[in-house]
Symmetry: C2
Subunit: 79 residues, 2 copies
């Protein structure tokens, strides 16, 4: 199965990298950008064939390694 | 408007960071992971209110800054 994981900073957590991207965009002439937030996107190909078990396994991977759950949240899609 | 951008490595481009994540997952006991590919996820809040113009502007941002189109592809969602 293919699992897609989206890791984003929780609301309220400062995102200096996003601010840097916003300011780079402004210096390129893109002045209509009010805010930029950066996150991670992870694709995993799994041997598991049961969608429910695959999702549960990927959620454990997020908790252990892929996301820092103090400051980040994650969303898992399995297909 | 809110734009979501997914930047991924093109097929065939080596992903050493993904390989490192896969091996870290294996060392944590997640042995059923066949492949990992890492990408970027960018959320942009735009002043633009027309969906078509917003998408076109974000695609220009991808070409200029957000993606390295030699090795990466991108997908834009506007809502």
């Amino acid at each position: 199965m293919l699992a897609k994981v989206y890791v984003t900073l929780k609301p309220g957590v400062l995102d200096p990298q996003g601010k840097a991207v916003r300011s780079s965009l402004a210096s390129l002439g893109f002045l209509g950008v009010e805010d930029v937030r950066l996150g991670k996107y992870v694709e995993l190909r799994l041997a598991e064939t049961d969608p429910g078990r695959a999702r549960a396994e990927v959620e454990r991977m997020c908790e252990r390694l892929l996301a820092n759950t103090v400051i980040e949240s994650y969303r898992v899609e399995v297909s």
